[in-house]
Subunit: 398 residues, 2 copies
């Protein structure tokens, strides 16, 4: 029988605990033996619940028990998760985590520590919840030069944008609705300001490039500046607005950005609505492949965590997927990045705007406004134009 | 340096040959060493082309060369592919194939032979072309009880249905167009009659159930009976018609069927148009996950084949993924299967039809017709109703 431990009995941790009991037979079939949760680390008590029997508040119970070969970290945050995960890896235990903050900030060190001790540090659940994404990148798309990733990586903001579109409400109302439904936190900043998506993008691009991509170096704009008028204008021009995490790898240089984008109707990300996540990966041979599913939620995230656990149990004494090197990835210089833009101006300013913007199309909008769709142009050129005249809003076009 | 061989230099085989040259660096990074094609088996000559240097028409050159550790089979058909693949496995070489006919008909034997010789027989490319699907099922969704699969597994028929919908043309015209574009064969039966999708479904359900699912036992209807009027009627009722391969696994019993289905707009398979494939998998924890991409084509298919090759090169002396057992899967008895139906009748027959069908909704259609949407009901009950009165057409509803 395999013995595992869970650190943190919150939403995801309790999901892992329940999954291991509920899907006992499935795990036995895949892992080759029964899987048992020997410890759950939490400072709280859960009297009367099954978890109480295996509860401990001392991490050393886990670290010092040679029977425990795999540890699940579902505490969230950097401290004390980093210390506990380091301790587990150093004690020769593989770790599976759903903690994107930890992976984005400390992944490089933890991957090195795992290699040093011939164990694995896996984090499929940290990106896209239950959607298999990191493992297919590392284990299936290995014949392709992966050139770009475009993802709806945050379900909360996708839900908000969907509701703004469907119900025609403003950002604040859609956010309040998301909070009421439990899709958004009381302090929604990590989601709505794009930090969550930024960390996930950093993890994906680190894996694809093989080098550490610092989440803090990724230009990030969230959705709080998107107005009902923006959504309506996009619709009139035939687009939907999504918060996208976009990364490219060209000649070893990384481009990465989190920003609202106008997504054309023929793009497979366009129909993705509500809390779902979807990630489009472009390879030089396979062309576009897309992975879609629930990017959050107790059961779906637990599914990804335990998928990692199974892989680790099957590969004792071995580091699965080396991850990325400590050497930072080279970024494409800011300003050199290229993109098409959708620029809203007052109808009376259209002529002037078309002189300073490489316009492809001009769409008449409500309230005496026009939307100008530009050619693909340098970000720096857009900034220069924005200094010359005031635009009502500017949104990137995928 | 790793030495591999390719059997069959047709579309996919030449794609594999070119990929190995083009993506040399990528393969070295993932496999850990250079990958070289030492032999290509074909009875034809290709003077002046790079392949000519490594061409052989004698399979024994490959089977007897101890340097060759992995063999790619891209000949298609059962004979002589079965004989050659058996020979390679028996000689201790792992095999990667794109040949769904071979896998569906002979997979059970070839998987057993691979296990016997501690090598692998992999076939990611046989289902969904370049889309990672089998590997995520076997290697990522291992914490889930997988309950159903619903897939657009044939790009040719999806293209035909898309064109019938977009252009309002009949099946024959859409087929002719697909043939002119190279999406359909001159003899289109394998695609349009659903045999291709049936084989792919059999492979997926064999993996999910762990038992051999015989493709020939899967009830299969293709798209040649779908008329422009069916498409128009579906549209009026708010649906799109897709050829779906649908499999369920309940209490160890397999349900499998290939048939045209009306797909509701909110289903993520609904927006999949043209030659693309998409597969929705439902697990008891992860809920729905979907994999989307090019289900055919030279480069995309080669990408999947070489992804298997990389996995095999990294795991010498080991059988990756045991596949399924020779024991046949138990099928749900025909007639016990349950489905909702969309039944077209003449307007004057509606009252009578609603007496013998469990109608949920009735939609007025053009030409004095009505479309009756039924409750989920037994297939056998629908058949009984069809004996009592003549329906214009009957289509399953997803």
């Amino acid at each position: 029988m395999y013995q595992i431990a869970i650190m943190g009995f919150g939403t995801i941790g309790s999901g892992v605990f329940e999954l291991v009991r509920e899907n006992k037979e499935v795990l036995k079939r895949h892992a080759g033996d029964d899987v048992n949760v020997k410890y759950v680390l939490d400072i709280r008590q859960f009297p009367g619940q099954p978890v109480q029997e295996v509860l401990t508040n001392d991490v050393n119970d886990i670290l010092n028990d040679p029977e425990v070969s795999v540890v699940v970290e579902t505490m969230g945050g950097i401290n004390p998760a980093f210390k506990f995960v380091s301790g587990a890896l150093a004690a020769g235990k593989s770790v599976a985590t759903s903690n994107k903050e930890l992976v984005a900030a400390k992944g490089t060190e933890l991957l090195a520590l795992a290699r040093e001790h011939n164990v694995s540090f896996l984090f499929e659940a940290s990106v896209g919840g239950g959607i298999p994404l990191l493992r297919p990148i590392m284990n299936a798309l290995t014949a392709d030069r992966l050139e770009s990733v475009t993802g709806i990586l945050n379900g909360t903001t996708n839900y908000i944008l969907t509701r703004m579109d469907e119900a025609g409400v403003d950002f604040a109302d859609a956010l309040a609705e998301a909070q009421a439904k439990g899709y958004a936190e009381r302090n929604p900043s990590a989601d709505v300001d794009g930090h969550d998506a930024k960390r996930k993008l950093a993890i994906i691009m680190s894996i694809i490039s093989g080098h550490f991509v610092d989440a803090e170096a990724i230009p990030t704009v969230g959705v709080s500046g998107i107005t009902a008028a923006d959504i309506a204008a996009a619709k009139e021009a035939g687009y939907d607005i999504k918060l996208l995490a976009r990364g490219e790898l060209t000649d070893g240089q990384v481009y990465a950005r989190v920003s609202p984008y106008m997504v054309p109707p023929e793009n497979p990300l366009n129909p993705v609505r509500g809390v779902f996540n979807s990630i489009l990966i472009h390879g030089n041979m396979v062309d576009d492949v897309m992975f879609y599913g629930r990017g959050a939620g107790k059961e779906a995230t637990a599914s990804a965590v335990v998928g990692d656990v199974v892989d680790e149990l099957k590969n004792p004494g071995k580091t699965i997927y080396p991850g990325w090197s400590a050497e930072p990835a080279a970024f494409v210089p800011l300003g050199d990045e290229q993109c098409a833009f959708f620029v809203r101006v007052n109808a009376m300013d259209v002529e002037e705007a078309c002189k300073i913007l490489p316009a492809v199309k001009c769409v008449g909008l409500a309230d005496d406004e026009c939307g100008i769709l530009t050619e693909v142009m340098k970000e720096s050129a857009l900034e220069e134009a924005a200094e010359k005249m005031k635009f009502i809003s500017v949104i990137r076009v995928l």
